[in-house]
Symmetry: C2
Subunit: 308 residues, 2 copies
Amino acid sequence: MTSPAREFSVLERICRPGQLEDSRVLIGPGDDLALVRAEGRGDVGGAEILVGVDQLIDGIHVDIATVGWSAAGRKAVTRSLSDIAAMAGRPVSIVVSAAVPPDVTEASAMELFDSMKETASQYHAPLVGGDLAILKEGPLTCSVTVMAVPPPQGAVTRFGAQPGDGLYVTGQLGGAWRGTHHLTFEPRLSEASMLRAILQDRLHAMLDISDGLGRDAAHLVERSGLQVVIEADALPCRDGADVSQAVGDGEDYELLLAAAGEVPEGLGACPVTRIGTIQERPDPDAPPVVLEWNGANHDISQSGWEHQ
Amino acid sequence: MTSPAREFSVLERICRPGQLEDSRVLIGPGDDLALVRAEGRGDVGGAEILVGVDQLIDGIHVDIATVGWSAAGRKAVTRSLSDIAAMAGRPVSIVVSAAVPPDVTEASAMELFDSMKETASQYHAPLVGGDLAILKEGPLTCSVTVMAVPPPQGAVTRFGAQPGDGLYVTGQLGGAWRGTHHLTFEPRLSEASMLRAILQDRLHAMLDISDGLGRDAAHLVERSGLQVVIEADALPCRDGADVSQAVGDGEDYELLLAAAGEVPEGLGACPVTRIGTIQERPDPDAPPVVLEWNGANHDISQSGWEHQ
């Protein structure tokens, strides 16, 4: 018996703890980005580098026939930059590769790369390397690697939430894929830096919502015995999206954070909404993420969008 | 009229000089790797980071049905590490992404990622991030991003060759694809570091031979008015490969370098052979790379292997 490849089981294997014995790896696989230490020249100084890779595939993450090459290029870059925001980092540069179907015109390929380059530059993440291959068959497959530096206070991981923390989200949730939000969103780089600077060590954990609030909230407690409790009435729903869409649609690219003490209600034009609490899990079999909705508790740990 | 996408014209656009106005970019696109400056934490120190991306696609760079998933994973990583050697850098880490066909078993995907992880670790380039997507159709497409630090003497670019420099190559050339060399080669990381340490500033230019000696030698003079002259009789041909194979086969992943003064004839078990000279181009229309063979001069500037 052989079983088909499954994204999570294969990647879990890469992330398996205990296999990284390199002291330069400060945060290993499994977070939004890894953090590695690079030596400075001549043994002076050095820097900590955030790095991670994400793919954008036609027919899975975007429909190029509908939205065009330029929108696809923008999304490939912004969704990777959103991972930098999730760690509160500052972009250093990006490199991209693309494998395109054989019938793609040179003009379309140029449009794709020009859009990636321009978008990257707009967020101060100069595109410094690229690779293009022409496929014999198959859809556009784009891979974007981002490099960043942590903020002065240090990068924020997914895993530091503590009992009693409030759970907060930037912007609004739901309906991102049906509308244009997944193509036009601004990665929350500035908001993340501001939150880190304002909250300092009270900002315990952060990630960006791509799969969906339910599944992404589960990441916050996957290395602890804690539980996320979300109040349905508090959810900031986007343009008429309902609660179940806000919880499960994904593609929001908003920040989800756990913090102690007071958190500002907004940052510039961006609202920051308290939507729940982190608490001890009542028993070991309790769901990692619970939605309090109409007087009942719902397990939403699996609520999210499979990009397939 | 629309024309099909062509790798070089699209990538040339990315590399177009004058578009990079970010002072953190020390070496832009167009070399084996880019070099960017990353700030240290708290404005102390900082580091220069070499970074670049390369793809490996089933049916183009490897035939998985013949060689298997593990060999494909190894090659995806070693060919990217070879770019680090070309700059005389030292690996820091790698991140990988893969898009696999729908019929790939979990065992095969695991084999691929395990092989990439193990190979990376073997060369002290810990794999710190990965992404896996399942395609609806199309071949395995693997993208490997490498990060490295320059040696104490600084990275070696492709473009510093000077008139009178000798042209040298490590190892042997030719027949790499018909044999197993393209699957089993060792990236010349140590040799490159040794050459940089021994030759210091006399090591003017370096790259790794992937496309083929002719085309890759042309890169050495593409930003100058110089000419590469290669002597056929001097070429170190691999296991019965002939001169035209040594010149055009590619996939050697050997170092090609231009240096002034004396160069060691070997580094450990690795031979270093003088195969030619850098000189002023006799006239502007003269070919960038000339092969002296049987008393005649041949233009081999285009000799190499299109991976398609």
